[in-house]
């Protein structure tokens, strides 16, 4: 279950953002990932809850995951963007280039992005 590691990586980055903005509390974190990012949203959220349970500044915060578009790179024609269709029936994660119809494509599986963080900032 590498979602625990991913949740830790998110929390570490958010800790730095808290510091940078001198925030007292995190309210909500929104992350996005494509359907092929090897992340199970429920497990990621569960791991986030476990990791932040003892962290005061994360108390009652939520992690929300949005689904972003899949992106392929075509090794034949240099197309970058959404695949033409869902996976090859024989090989999952192999996609067709919509531009040249090549099956020689690479799917980006590391899109998991921290989009926004809602913070509570104390009055000066």
């Amino acid at each position: 279950m590498h979602e625990y590691s991913v949740a830790s990586a998110i929390v570490d980055q958010v800790k730095a953002i808290i510091e940078e903005h001198k925030a007292t509390q995190v309210k909500k974190i929104i992350v996005s990932a494509s359907p092929y990012d090897v992340i199970i949203p429920e497990l990621l959220i569960e791991a986030y809850g476990i990791i932040t349970a003892e962290l005061d500044k994360f108390k009652n915060s939520t992690l929300e995951m949005q689904i972003s578009k899949a992106e392929i790179s075509c090794l034949e024609c240099d197309y970058k963007g959404e695949p033409a269709e869902e996976g090859d029936p024989e090989f999952a994660y192999n996609f067709i280039c919509p531009k040249c119809e090549s099956r020689d494509t690479h799917i980006n599986m590391k899109n998991l992005t921290i989009e926004t963080v809602d913070l509570v900032i104390p009055d000066n």
Binding site: Y4, Q13, I17, E90, Y93, K110, I114, V117, L119, D123
Partner: protein, 216 residues
């Protein structure tokens, strides 16, 4: 009531790990070192392949092997007997190595004391695929005893690799078939180098050394 602020971040969750992995790769390249990441399933034969590699390479090269396992130093101890220097990382519950875990071990040694670095990742066919550890080449090992669909069922780990090893080929024909796995591994990623090995008999080890770009 304190004001709330929405901060737009737009940063990859893997960013910190991947930046460190890039740094490790740069250091290795600048010092003319080789660093390989061996991934694969539990019981696929990764450790025996590394014993074979260590036995062949240690007379000419100074080999440093980083073993990742949930517990014990069994694998590191086995490989050390073949002439390599080894260190065992026990990940506890962790299912993969990371750039930070590798850097922690590199910080304890002088990189210049070694020529070839190999990490044996934690045995599983999913989690290590997402975590760049700074290697120049990723290797995925499966064995023919894992069934004829093992490549198709785990495409991600093969897409993350440049070399696919199909191991335990000494059992070919005894109810197991290496051909289907080798064909699937070749189809799953353009340019994939597929090597049939038997770590038990030594089959394919020389071909692996050549594929790694090591003069032997």
């Amino acid at each position: 009531m304190s004001p709330e602020k929405k901060v737009v971040v737009k940063k990859l969750a893997y960013q910190v790990n991947d930046e460190l992995a890039d740094k490790i790769r740069e250091v290795m390249k600048s010092k003319n070192k080789l660093f390989f990441n061996m991934m694969g399933s539990i019981g696929s034969g990764k450790t025996l392949i590394l014993e074979r590699l260590a036995a062949k390479l240690s007379s000419k090269y100074r080999v440093f092997v980083i073993n990742g396992d949930v517990a014990t130093t069994i694998d590191a101890d086995r490989i050390a007997k073949q002439g390599a220097t080894t260190v065992q990382i026990n990940t506890g519950g962790g299912c993969h190595l990371s750039a930070k875990l590798i850097q922690n071990e590199l910080d304890k040694i002088n990189i210049d004391d070694y020529d070839i670095f190999i990490a044996e990742n934690v045995g599983n066919l999913i989690c290590p695929a997402a975590w760049d550890i700074g290697a120049q080449l990723n290797i995925t090992v499966v064995s023919i005893t894992e069934g004829e669909y093992v490549v198709k069922k785990h495409p991600i780990i093969f897409k993350s690799a440049e070399i696919a090893i199909i191991n335990k080929c000494d059992l070919d024909g005894l109810g197991f078939n290496s051909d289907v796995l080798a064909e699937d591994a070749a189809k799953i990623k353009s340019g994939m180098k597929v090597i049939l090995t038997s770590a038990k008999t030594g089959q394919g080890i020389d071909e692996l050394i050549t594929a790694l770009g090591i003069e032997y």
